[in-house]
């Protein structure tokens, strides 16, 4: 179980790095804070990404609980 959590966090971290570098590229070109550029659309992007991640964590936890019951 811990093993899974670790790999999950690692992937999340890698994705975070990817997003940050992408965002920095955009910021370098626009020369402004990426979150405030383009009508603050990237704020919405962050919100959607958080919701999707949270939703998956929730479904994952239900999956784990059911697996535990099945193994009983």
């Amino acid at each position: 179980m811990k093993k899974y959590l670790k790999s999950f966090l690692l992937v999340l971290f890698a994705l975070g790095c990817f997003v940050t570098t992408q965002a920095q590229d955009v910021a370098a070109n626009a020369n402004i804070d990426v979150m405030r550029s383009n009508g603050k659309i990237y704020v919405v992007m962050a919100v959607v990404a958080t919701i999707v991640t949270g939703l998956f964590l929730y479904v994952y936890s239900i999956d784990k609980k059911i697996s535990k019951l099945e193994n009983k």
């Binding site: 919701i51 998956f56 479904v59």
Partner: protein, 223 residues
């Protein structure tokens, strides 16, 4: 059977949807007219609801037909779970469509033929659950629900696919170009497709995941 407990495709679902929710906002979109602007990005979120719904409801009717052949309660668990998730996606499609329509067509509900058709289709599926709930005898419930499921699935074709095409519609695909200020499938360029199709697969897989959880719960309960 074991597939539903495997982890890899759940990871695929997460990665595809994470990719969609990030790249869906970054990808360059074609500028079709001044009214649509960035709301064309709803193609990555609103439209996949309907695609995924069709796939989930197809799986549901598949297991309904299978139940009628095997009369194994497990097939009915599958059919019911996929119908529930598919219907949920349909309602998400209706509500996200209403939000988009409010800013694109001026009101959340304009009686557009596709809106009406989708609402009717959803009501037909709600009746499926009402029908199930009205019976206590398990065999009878599963059998009648399976037969009704087949009817409900085939009603999706006139309500969502045929009738909206026979008249002018605000949605793409209606008759004539007058009534279609929005977008056509053809208006999606290669960039948009590179987000759209992963989004469809991702949302579908998430729906499958949630359905399998319901199935596993029912299986445990039946033990």
């Amino acid at each position: 059977m074991n597939m539903i407990r495997k982890a890899w495709w759940k990871w695929v679902a997460f990665l595809l949807l994470f990719y969609t929710s990030i790249y869906g906002f970054i990808v360059k979109v074609p500028k079709l007219d001044d009214r649509l602007e960035h709301s064309i990005r709803n193609m990555f979120f609103h439209v996949p609801m309907w695609f995924a719904m069709m796939i989930l409801l197809f799986v549901s009717v598949w297991y309904a037909a299978k139940y009628l052949r095997t009369t194994s309660p497990i097939d009915d668990f599958y059919s019911k779970a996929f119908a529930a998730t598919g219907t949920l996606y349909g309602f998400l499609g209706l509500s996200t469509g209403a939000i988009w329509a409010n800013y694109q067509w001026g009101s959340p509900w304009s009686g557009d033929p596709k809106q009406n058709g989708a609402a009717i289709a959803m009501l037909i599926y709600l009746a499926y659950f009402v029908l199930r709930g009205s019976m206590t005898d398990e065999d009878k419930r599963s059998r009648i629900a399976s037969v009704y499921n087949i009817f409900a699935f085939f009603m999706l074709f006139p309500t969502l696919w045929i009738l909206p095409r026979l008249t002018e519609s605000l949605h793409p695909g209606g008759q004539g170009s007058e009534g279609n200020p929005g977008i056509n499938g053809k208006d999606m360029d290669a960039n948009m497709r590179s987000v759209f199709y992963p989004a469809v697969i991702g949302w579908t897989l998430l729906g499958v995941w949630v359905s399998t959880l319901k199935i596993r719960y029912e299986l445990l309960k039946a033990k």
